[in-house]
Every structure is written in C-alpha cells, then in structure tokens.
Symmetry: D2
Subunit: 240 residues, 4 copies
C-alpha cells in the first residue's frame, strides 16, 4: 500500500490510559476571557446571559456523555465528573479531554446568538482544559467544595467591588484599596450599610454557581460544600 | 481563607511537560463526522465548502499560535506542527492540546454560516485531538508524507466510488464490489474510460490536501511527500 | 561555572510524581531465574533456602522503608505495599522503584553465602520491578489475593509435577501430560493416592507464600485471601 | 481458574513505553554513599578500589545488555547510553530501568570482596536510578560533557580540599573556608605551591572519570567533552 512505508510514524503515538478505579474530573476554563468579556461588554460583576450560555454548553456535554454524572460551573470555568468506572474511550486521556472541551466550545459558539442577540462574536472564543484523577469520594467532594468556595469568595469580592465602582463612584484602584484586608463579615456589612444590599438575597446562580446532576440533568444552584447534597445522591459517587 | 482546607486537591494535578527538543504534532479529527456530513448534506466525494471551512479554522490556529509552523489538512482532520524549540505554555501537554482543539472548533462553528449560508447547523460539531512527539526532522517529514499519502489513497478511491454511484448508477454495495482489489492504475483507467475524467486534472485541494506554512501563512495544495518542499523551506524544521 | 553550558540537559529530566491518595505496590521478579535456579541447583519444587533468602531480602526492604506496610512473596517474586499517604521521595516513581529493587538485590547477594554456604554464586542475579497504583482498599486486597491464589495454583501443580518426575519416574514431558486438564481435587487425590502426600500438611511457606506486616515486621505464612487477615489489621490499609 | 476473579487487578498496570527514536540514558547513583564510604573507610579524595568496583559493575551491565553502547562513571554514579533504535524490552521504562540498576547493584555486592578483601560489607549498599530521554546526538554529547565537567570540578575541589586537611593540617571547616570563591587556576596554583602536586599528572581515572564504549567494551579515561571522541566513534550515536 502506498502509505505503508510511512506508517511507522504511528508507533510514536503512545498509550495514555487513565488509571482505572479513579474518578475523572475534566475542568475547562475560558482562554483569555478577561479580554473576551470586555470586548463583548459582559455585565459586571456577573453577566447572567453569559452564565446561562456556559450552563447550556455544559448541559450539552452531559447530554452527549452519559458517564458525566456531575458538573459544576462558575464564571468562565466548568468541571465535569465522570463516574469512577467509566470506560469512555477506554479511558484514553487525550480523547476524553478533547472531545469534552471541543463539544463545550462548539455549543458555546453555536448558541451565542440566542443569549447575545444584539452582540456579534468579534472573534472565536476558546477554552483550555485538563484532567485530574481522584482516587476516593472524599477527594471528589473536596474538589467540588474547593470550586464552590472559590465561587463564593470571588463573587463576594466582585459584588462589593463593583458596587463601590458603579454606585460608589470609586475608581477600580480605590475600590481594591477599600477592600484590602477585609474579611467576609466586613464585606457583608459594607454592602448592606452602603448600598442596601443583603448579600444573601442575591441570586443563587451568582453565589453558588451551577450544579448539574444526573439523571435528567437537573440544573441547581445549591450548596455542594456540605454533606447533604452528596448523601441525598449516593449514586453520583457510587462505585459501580 | 475559606477555601484553604480544600486546596489540597490541587496536589492531584500532576505535571505533563512534553519532552524538550522534540517536534510536537497536534492532530485533530472530526468527531462522528460521517453522520455530521450526512446530516448537513456534504457533497460527495468532496465538499469544497467544508474543506474551505476546515482551512479557515486551521488558519485561525496558525494566526493565534506563532509556534505552529506547518499545518496539513484533509477531509475532517488537520495536523499542526509546532517548532521543536517551542516553549508554548511551558510545553504543558493538556494546555497546548486543548487550546488548539478548542480554537479550531470555535472558528469552525463561528464561520459555518459564511460557507453554508443556506444550511443551519443542526447540532454542535466537535473534534478530538492528540499530541504526538517526533524526535527528528526525518520522522516529521514521514509523518506528513503519511497523511498526504492517505489523502491520495482515499481521494482516489472516493472519486471512482462516487462516480460509479452517481453517474454509473451502481449501488454503494456494487461500487465497493467493483473496486475491490483494484490498484491505482486500474482506478485511473476506470475513471477515464468510463467517465471521461482524468484524475490528475482534479483540483489539487482534493488530491493533495491543504498545506499551511509560515511566514504569512500561505495556503498551498502542493506535494509534501518529496524533498523539494522541505529543502525550499529549511526554516520549518530548523532547530532554533 | 565550567559545567554550566551543558546544564540545560537537566531540563530533559521530567517529573514522575505518582498520583497522591493511591496505594503504591512495588512488585519485583527474579530476572531469568529459571536458568538461575538451575545453575545453582535449587531443590524442586521448592527450595527452602532460596525462599528464606528472598524473605530476608524483603525484610531488609521493610526495615529500611518504614512506609512499606505489607509485603508478600512467593517463588522469585515479592510485592511491597506502601501506605496510601506515603510521601517517600515525594512519591517520585523512579526513585521509589529503583531504591527498593536495588536494596532487595543487594541484600539477596550479600546474604547468599549464609543460605547457600556450599554454593558460590556463578554470576550476579538480578530482579526487575514495576509500580502499580491502586485507588482503593478493595483493589489492594484483591491484588494480594491474586498473588496468593497464584502461589497456591503454582505450588499445587509443581508439587504433583515433581512427585511424578522424582518419585514416579515420569519424564517432565510425561508429567505435564499426566496433569493436563486436571482440576485441583484431582491433583490432591493423585498426590495422596500415588505418593501418600496430604497436600494440606505441606509447609505453609510453600502453600501460602510469605507475608510480612508491620509493626515489628512479623513473618507469617497465613491466609490473606479472606477478610480475617485484613480486619484484624485495619492499620495496613488505613488512610492516614 | 481459581485466581481469575482477582485478575482484573492487572488492568491497573499501565503501559510505560519510552518514545521511539530517542536516546535513552540510565543514570544511577549510590544511595546514601556519603555514609557508606565513611563506614567502609574509603580513601579520600578518591578510593581507587571503589572506583574499580564501580567500573566492574558497569562492565557487567554492558556485557549483559548489548544495546548499551556507552557508559560514563565517576564517584558513586554511572550513566548508560542505549542506542537510539533499541527495542530492549519493547522500550518499557520500568523494565529497562530496574534490570540495569539491579544488575549493577548485584555485581557491585558480588565482587566487593575482590576489591576490599579486608573490609566486610557492614550492610547492603543500594543505588537509585532514573531514565532520561534525549532526542538528538547533540544533547547526548552535552549530557556526557555535563557529567565529565562535573567530574573535573568535583575532583579538583576534593583534591585540594583533602590536601589541605590531610597534609596541611586544616580542619574540614577551615579547608572549605580556604577554598571559598577560588577559581580553577587558583586551585591549581595552591596545589602546586603548597603541596608540590601538579594536578594534570594525577591519574586520568580521577580527573576524567571512566568511559566504556563498544565494541569489546573498552575502558578509557579520556576526554569526552570535545568532538574528537565522538567523531572517531560515529557508531555510538548513529541512527541504525
């Protein structure tokens, strides 16, 4: 066959099987989304349309890949949990990683016009991704707790920050200065006393991020740091 | 800090540095594009619009990532060569792989309407990808020769096959039967005698695939199997 | 510094950290020990001195590496279990693997004269090794059960086989023929009826292999397939 | 089969094929040899018997593994170069690494009495090892140049240091103090003026380390930093 004398180059394709018996987490992040959100005039501190579009893209990943049992998103990132026993693509790392990142990207771009009908995409947005393995259920819970705690911390900061800028008339530099060294309770207080905003009444989507679980792929904005979420859904981490 | 007791989960993110001093090839393929091309009524054996859209997506990758010095595409796949000395993302495998696959996907979807103005995307197309390392220039040349030889073999087969079906009135089963065991010269002859088509006059794009090289990212449909292409462009494989 | 212009070659030394939170098993095997046991006239089917020397070498590994909590040996192989939370050499794979294989080898050769006082080593014996990761306690138990079941199967076969040859006067070819297709109960019966040997009274060392556990590094020849062994020693698999 | 329900644990043994087309370097180092050399009263700054024993162990590796084409040793370390095209153990990393480290260790211990007839081994010495891949001949040359430059630097320092201590009556602390910040020419001068020693007349073994090359496995103590060594032996780095 004509191509056969070159076919030896395939021997350089080395196997990349992921360790069996481990939970697989795929986390993707918007690539240079600081600039992207500026160029497309995202609302601050949270752009609900942009978050909904992220949710939609994540939902399409869960619909396509039945072994994704949980997803969590915030801002421009999403994490997908594959069941421990998954044999998707024989657990080949690059194949799992790229198909999920690619489908997410594709769905994001395809559905953009529905969420931003008046803003054309100026250029093609992209996402990077990585795979992390976790051997036990405890680590998986802590992983998602870590992401949700991050959501909380960032959103709290950003909410006060943008209130200071947008309503308080501070420059961004001044606003950072005002917030330096403040703890959570002080930010709560500042938000309430200065701007009449009770942080706890802000939308769950902003404060808790987005949680997808099977079956039926339900979208929630609930607490996944505590044990209640997990003990009500033992199937998510069960070792089938 | 609130999230700090979960932060240990980051220690499960292991380094994935690619061996220095090697050429990096990123190859991506359309995911389930057989179905995708049917659902979107791609012309057979080659859909020029679809190929041009692939080329455009590849061009956007080369524009964004300056260390991609060569790209070759055919059908629903594209291969990108990064210069041997690239320090892109500190040669982290997942980062390089996902950003390129994601940007390609994004550009493909974003620009679809320009190439298929009358065909809406029915669903989000996606691509998978992998990275292969090659230690020497010889292997890189043979890699691309392997892909271009594949282009030739497939296109030759598909051209005769679809002529038999579309003009010759054979069923697809009969057409496969007709072609079983034929060598290249017989296919040439069959195409010419039965359908008056001189294979060598078909568009270069179909017969040779698409080649992008820096600088200025030129699109060619030329021979990359022989040495001439490489010796005229020593900078592509040079060890900077 | 004189060497500094060459020091870049160190960048080719890539990290090889083992996934945290997993049990590490190091298994080593005698390299070409079929020939080695022939050349040094090991008794068949089991050479007690050779097995004791293996045990001694394994004991020296456990004495040196405190994170090895369990070891199992049979014939010319030994498996070492490192505790799940071990930070030995920062979990660097090559370092852990080579130091254990090297120390085992060294101890084997150093102590050879005590076990084979009348047989000089004709050449240097060596061992190969590998590391396998297991995410959960169940898999670790099954790993060791797999090795002990192997011990049982091999020893049963070899015991009957060598009885047929040494006492029964069969050639090795005839003995294999005699045993072809026999199940465990038939081998028991054959051994008892023809040679008056009750398999179950053979030494535990031959039938069950060698088990080392911390603390105090106790040598046992007991059953590790059932749960009793593990439930009496919860500390072996505990997740510290 | 009795063991079959446990056999799934083998699926956790993942492939570890080394990239084809690359030079493989195995480097091993004495494990805690500072203490080992003290306990066994090695002569300072160089113990010729200990170096000869290292050489012997390296020679046994080259005799056993025909694809090792070059070896370089100094002090308690040795590096082995496998030919680029080697298919030894199908290029499985752990197998290649452990068999070489184990055989080296075994040979070292086995032959100890011939080199130290009056010093019994107090305990089992061991070595750790790692594998590094190099894509091109240039990097291989620079790797070995790096090791030989290291030999030179260390030996120069140690020679003057121990002269200051052994003949000069300085404490080790004082000797380090004396040498702090000195460059090569100053050490030469100090050695000559104070102790009448011309560094360049010291044995090649101490100043240049030990080089083994095929065929016939010749032991040399020659210069491998320059090009002469390599151009006289093109077969060492040839790409068969």
């Amino acid at each position: 066959m004509a191509g056969s004398r070159y076919a030896y180059v395939r021997t350089f394709e080395l196997p990349d099987t992921l360790l069996p018996g481990t939970f697989i987490v795929v986390r993707l992040d918007g690539h240079a989304f600081h600039r992207f959100s500026d160029e497309h005039a995202f609302a601050k501190p949270n752009d609900e349309r942009a978050l909904q579009l992220m949710d939609l893209a994540a939902r399409s990943v869960m619909q396509e890949y039945r072994d994704v049992v949980l997803a969590f998103g915030e801002s421009d990132e999403f994490s997908f949990l594959l069941r421990r026993s998954t044999a998707l693509y024989n657990r080949r790392e690059a194949k799992i990683l790229t198909t999920i990142v690619s489908l997410f990207t594709s769905s994001y771009v395809l559905n953009w016009p529905d969420y931003f009908p008046e803003t054309r995409l100026k250029y093609a947005p992209s996402f990077d991704g990585r795979i992390v393995l976790y051997p036990s259920a405890k680590e998986v819970k802590d992983y998602f707790a870590w992401r949700q705690a991050d959501t909380h911390i960032n959103n709290m900061y950003n909410t006060v920050f943008w209130a200071l800028v947008q309503q308080g008339g501070q420059s961004t530099k001044e606003a950072h200065e005002t917030l330096r060294g403040t703890v959570s309770s002080q930010k709560h207080e500042l938000l309430f006393s200065k701007f009449g905003v009770n942080y706890n009444t802000l939308p769950d989507r902003f404060r808790k991020g987005s949680v997808f679980v099977r079956e039926e792929i339900v979208l929630l904005h609930c607490d996944i740091i505590g044990d209640a979420f997990w003990s009500e859904r033992p199937y998510v981490l069960e070792e089938i």
